[in-house]
């Protein structure tokens, strides 16, 4: 497992960071009180947003850990990174609407870009798994 970590440091960081970010949001304190989250709070409660991040980040980390030993892991990685890209972009959009100069716009956008970078590697692995399955048929 360890020799794959060097290639996927950003993806590992994204998965673990997302899972712990979910724990932070789901914790007892209020962290999504800002007006930037007005629309997002109509979609999910703060706790459910936290759970979504925990599940997404957790599944992503498990898939990275199992890696090539199971055929489905690149598909989970693609789904998790796509969800990350969409959700972090939504978070950035809320702050953009409130104050485009907010540091949160940059931070959440960066997280979305990190997810987009990881999608590239995950989709390539999906193609490789597909190719191996087709050749082995």
């Amino acid at each position: 497992m360890t020799h794959h970590h060097k290639d996927r440091r950003l993806e590992w960081w994204l998965a673990i960071n997302t899972a712990f970010f979910g724990v932070f949001i789901a914790a007892a304190w209020q962290s999504m009180d800002s007006a930037a989250y007005d629309v997002l709070r109509t979609w999910l409660t703060e706790t459910n947003w936290g759970l979504l991040f925990v599940v997404t980040g957790g599944c992503h980390a498990v898939a990275l850990g199992i890696n090539g030993r199971a055929w489905w892991t690149p598909f989970v990685r693609t789904a998790a990174t796509s969800a990350n890209a969409l959700i972090y972009a939504s978070f950035a959009a809320g702050f953009w609407a409130m104050d485009p100069k907010s540091t949160a716009v940059w931070i959440y956008s960066s997280l979305s870009v990190a997810a987009l970078i990881c999608i590239y590697g995950a989709v390539k692995d999906v193609v490789h798994v597909w190719g191996a399955w087709r050749d082995g048929k």
């Binding site: 890209a85 809320g94 953009w96 609407a97 987009l116 989709v123 191996a132």
Partner: protein, 64 residues
Amino acid sequence: VTANDYGYILLSVSALITAIGGLAVFKARSEPTPRKPDDTLHRIEGNQQRMESKLDIILDRTHR
């Protein structure tokens, strides 16, 4: 930001994901599919060791 604006943002990011995914597919197709490590040599060595140990037993019995 209204819910509609979020819809446009999500659509734009989805388009980006599709474009990046398409690029990754194009790139991956031009690369060889990674193969499983060939364990033929390992299997031959295992068989050889088993045969040698059986031969030792037979030779031992023959000497007796």
